[in-house]
Amino acid sequence: MIGVIDTCFLIDWSRFRRREILEKLFNVLLIHEEVLRQIRSESAIGYVSELFTKGVLRLYPWSNMDEKEFIILRSQVSSNSRIPSLERPDLLCLIIAYNSDAVLLSENVGIHRVVQYHPRYSHVEVWIALDVIEQSVYKGLIKVDSEEDFLSIVKEYELDTHHSFRKNKVRSAIERVREWLMR
């Protein structure tokens, strides 16, 4: 499975005590150099260096065609007040995910909203960290024996990153994990 990492995801995920599960879940992670330019914290720089060294993370070769696609997308989604800042690096990541048939790892609410209505990008899978944790359970990368185990890992993430997931998303994830545990 191929993943694309954007800035918002990376800076939070790099603080997670179980961050190594990401490199086990994805064969390849793609990143744009403009995302790299955004990171400054020790945790994020250290994590990115580690992923490059392990050969999991690769720089995406941005092309002129990709750039044209960015200009079009930018004009199509530019002015809705309910879509938080869609900055260039995050839109680039959406285009990379679309063109690479990859999962986009993003905590950018704006990106999650664009894929809810944009006809071209609506089939792009965009995961938040909660989805990564859930998928890691299904792949056996995180062992859980109960819903409580799953929830405690979600709480670990929230504690490590000061990131909160919406209650309805956590409830839905717990229900799916419960069904999976009963199989």
Binding site: C8, R40, S41, V77, P84, E107, H162
Partner: protein, 82 residues
Amino acid sequence: MVNEIRPPKELIKKWEEEDEEARKTRKSMANWNFINKQPPRIKLALIVYIETGDIYKAARIAELTVDEFNEIRIKANIPSIT
């Protein structure tokens, strides 16, 4: 000429409700003692973040990168919410 693609009204309504809920959570969890002690530009950026949840906008106001602003957000105990 590229036409803008607009989200449907029902989605916009749903997003408004989500945004308001998130804004209340950020506001109630924030460490206001920490925020009030910050230099004016950082304080303003933190307040904008609480109100909008928009880390890019807040980082620009603070004249920092997103990652640098995120460090301050954490110190101010303001959750990012998705």
